[in-house]
Structure formats: structure tokens, C-alpha cells
Amino acid sequence: MPDRGATPRALRFAAPTIAAALALLAWEGAVRLFDIPPYLLPGPWLVLRTLVENFGSLLPSWWFTVKITFAALGLAVLGGAALALLFALSRTLELGLFPFAVVLQVTPVVAVAPLVLILVDNATATVLICAWIVAFFPILSNTAIGLRSADTNLRDLFRLYGASRWQTLRHLLVPSALPYFMAGLRVAGGLSLIGAVVAEFTAGAAGRETGLASRILEASFRTEIPKMFAALVLVSLTGVAIYALMNLLAHLVLRRWHESQR
């Protein structure tokens, strides 16, 4: 039975944890050693205390950002996967529409957000749409490539056995595409969060229905730098959590058979 010696679990947890701990120590050390004032660079201990103190007010903003991120991700999965399937069925459609998808990818959300806001006149919808725009492309692109990567011999075999287009799609192309889709999902998760935050920077309006971006801005404008860092840390931790979640998902789906899950 082939066994290439999977990475021991202990190392998988220990390595990043130790690295993070060292980084935090270095940060705190630097702040104390160089006597850096908190309004320029607060140390991690101060940031943590500020986070705990303001947890009550940061939590609803965090939840709002999380909701938008996952809603946008869900829509990106639906849209991206569906369009990729369509492309797999019609080369003409793919050739015609793919350039539009590329345009979506390279358009800077910062520039687009205010225009979207004018169009839909709703700050929450704007943030959702912008997060969707950045998350959509990796899913579409990766899934489309995945659908094209089915083994040639298997494809011949399906043809030999007279499989219909639908059967080929369901039994061959989709399972072949799954690892690629999972890779795209891993990327799209983090991007969705970034899109949600960046869009809110430019198109969000203070007061109602606001996420972490508004809290970051608010703290920045009110010169409450430790609080700004606390909100930033929340964004980072959320990003890490999303990445870990996507990794777990990939593991659950692929663990029985794919090389990447050894």
C-alpha cells in the first residue's frame, strides 16, 4: 500500500503556532525597545486588551462582514460553477463570455464600488456585489480548467461506451474538476472577505448595517489607533479562519482519493 509519510499532525499545528508566537513577541519587543507610542504602533498586548474592551461593539460589525463574505462566496460558487459548466458544454459561449469574466477580475473594486452604489442605491447590496465580483473569477477560472482536465483516455473510454454529454459531465468532468474547484474555493474565500472590506471602505455609509471596514475607518479618523488595530486583527483572524475552513472542506471532499490530501 503506497505511503509517502503524511506530515505528522503535531508539526502541522506546532509550526505555524510557534511562528506566530515568535512574531508577536518580536512585535511587542520592538514596541517596548524603541518606545513606540501607541498612536503610531500599538503593541500586541495593548491591541488584545483594546479588542476585549471593545468586543461588544466590534462583534456586530464583525458578524455583518462575515455574513456578507459568505453570502458573496455562496453566490460566487453558484455563478462561477454554473458558468463553468455552461462553458464546458459550449465552446462558443466560453470564447464569447470569458473576456467579460477577465474584465471583472481586473477591475479594481475601489473604483467600481461608488459606481455600483449609484446604480443600486443600497450600501449593503453594493458591498455584496463587490465582494461577489472579486470572489467569482477564481471559482469560474479554476472550475473551467478543471472541467477541461479530465484524463484523455477516460474521455475516450466514455465515448467508446456511448456516454451522453450529460453522463460524461456528471460521471467524468465534474469529479475531475472537483480538486480544481476546491483550489479555487480556497482562494475565493479570502478574496470575498477582502472584497467586502474594501468595498465598504469606499461605498459603505456609517451608522446602520456596517462591518469591520467602517470600524477601521472610524477608529482611524478618530485617532483611536489601538482600536483600529483591534479591528484589523479581527479581519486578519477572520481571513485565517476562512482559509482553514476551506482547507478542511477540501480535505473532507478529496481525502479518499486525491494526491493533495496525503
Binding site: 467508446l160 456511448g162 460521471h171 486525491h258
Partner: protein, 253 residues
């Protein structure tokens, strides 16, 4: 009775390469035929034409009446890595939408015939190369195929594994009575297995010579060690040599 045939077939690829020129070949029902030749002689192309995966540019390909019952074995096992062994083997039957009970019975039977019945629930990556190849053979036979096309199936295995699978294949052939067309570049393998060896020459691909191997079946290690075997190998090797040389001469002409 002729099971299938190529009649004056040309095959030109879209890139312009002439892979086959004027190839005529016929295979009798239940016959075991090898296609032997150096790389570039078009033997794999012939196999694909016989399978109906490609169409000839000129000439005709005659298929058996029940074209659906063709099994194909590639050089790599070509199993679906995300599916268990049983699901891999059952693929042709599932695509043909056969009833569940029938499928299960046929899969069980096919796996027993290749000696892998207890691995039905395993995933391909848990099996060795040789075992995966036997799964591929099981899949090719699960439809009770009357025609088995094999494209250098054992080339990636080690010598021992290869010899073992040669014997297995012959046993199955004798049991099931299917027609077999076996592509190889190994003279010894072609002589060991077949009733007839079709030697092909390259550039462009064509039939150079056909040599009958009259040894009786079942064939085993004693056949491999015999003088007749050695003589046939020499005969086939020389034919192959002549084919390659004449092709080179033609190329330099």
C-alpha cells in the same frame, strides 16, 4: 468468420502527418492477433480505428455487428481515482443504464475472474500498478465483450508482473472466447500470446508482414522455454528488422 477488418485504410492527422497508408487487415472471430512495430508505425492508430474512436481518411473499417461490446485497455490503467474499484468496473454498465442487480452481479463476476473480488471497495490509489491493470481488464470484460482491444497494456509493469498478466490474459481469452487485438513493441510478448503477429513498418504506417504462430493453447512457461518459441522470435525479429530498414531506405530515397 471475419470479426473486423481494415480495407485499404489511410489515416492523415489534421497536422498533415500521414499515419497510415493503404493498411488492410482482417481479424477472425475469436482470434488473438498482435500488432507489432517500432514507434511511429501507427499500431495505436489502427487500434483506435478498430474501436471507432477515430475515422479513416480513406478506405473502410468493418466493425462487428454488436459494436457496443468492445472493451479497451490503455497503457495506463485509466481508472477514475475518485471511484471505488467496483464503481470503476461497473462504469460501462451504468452508462448503458442497466438495472442495479444485474450490474452488481456482473461486477462481482468480472472481479472474480481477474482475482480481485475482495478489493471491490478499495480506491485505485490503494492498489499496485499490476492490480490496477487487472481492474482495467475486468472493466473491459464486464460487458461480456466480444472484442478486446489492448494498447501496450503491460508496458509499464516489471518483467515478472508482465509475464504473470500475459498468462492471465490468455486464460481469460480461452475462457471467454473474445477476439483480441493486442498492440505491443515486444517481440517476445507478441510471439508468446498470439496466433498471428502483424508486423508494421513506420513512416507511413503500413503492414509489412504477417507471421502465423502455430503453437497450441494453453501456453505457459514451457512454451516460452521451447526451441519453437525462439525460432518464431527470430523470424518475427527479422521481419521487424526488414520493415524498419526498408522504411529508412524509403525515407532517404
Amino acid at each position: 468468420m471475419t470479426a473486423l477488418a481494415l480495407e485499404h485504410v489511410d489515416k492523415r492527422f489534421p497536422t498533415g502527418t500521414l499515419a497510415l497508408q493503404g493498411v488492410s487487415l482482417s481479424v477472425g472471430s475469436g482470434e488473438f492477433v498482435s500488432l507489432l512495430g517500432p514507434s511511429g508505425c501507427g499500431k495505436s492508430t489502427v487500434l483506435r480505428l478498430l474501436a471507432g474512436l477515430d475515422q479513416p481518411s480513406a478506405g473502410r473499417v468493418r466493425h462487428p455487428e454488436r459494436a457496443a461490446e468492445t472493451g479497451f485497455v490503455f497503457q495506463s490503467p485509466t481508472l477514475m481515482p475518485w471511484a471505488r474499484v467496483a464503481d470503476n468496473v461497473s462504469l460501462p454498465l451504468r452508462l448503458a443504464k442497466q438495472p442495479r442487480a444485474q450490474i452488481d452481479a456482473a461486477v462481482q463476476s468480472a472481479l472474480e475472474r481477474v482475482g480481485l473480488a475482495e478489493f471491490a471497495q478499495a480506491f485505485p490509489r490503494e492498489l499496485s500498478g499490476g492490480m490496477q491493470m487487472r481492474v482495467a481488464i475486468a472493466r473491459a470484460l464486464v460487458t461480456r465483450a466480444s472484442l478486446l482491444l489492448l494498447d501496450e497494456p503491460f508496458a509499464a509493469l516489471d518483467e515478472i508482473g508482465r509475464m504473470r498478466l500475459n498468462v492471465e490474459l490468455l486464460r481469460l481469452w480461452q475462457q471467454e472466447r473474445f477476439t483480441a487485438v493486442f498492440v505491443t513493441h515486444s517481440v517476445m510478448e507478441a510471439v508468446f500470446l498470439s496466433q498471428r503477429v502483424v508486423v508494421m513498418a513506420p513512416r507511413p504506417g503500413r503492414v509489412a508482414q504477417e507471421i502465423r504462430i502455430d503453437a497450441p493453447y494453453p501456453r505457459d512457461e514451457s512454451w516460452r522455454a521451447s526451441a519453437a518459441f525462439a525460432a518464431s522470435c527470430v523470424q518475427v525479429s527479422q521481419a521487424l528488422q526488414r520493415a524498419v530498414e526498408s522504411a529508412e531506405e524509403a525515407a532517404h530515397a
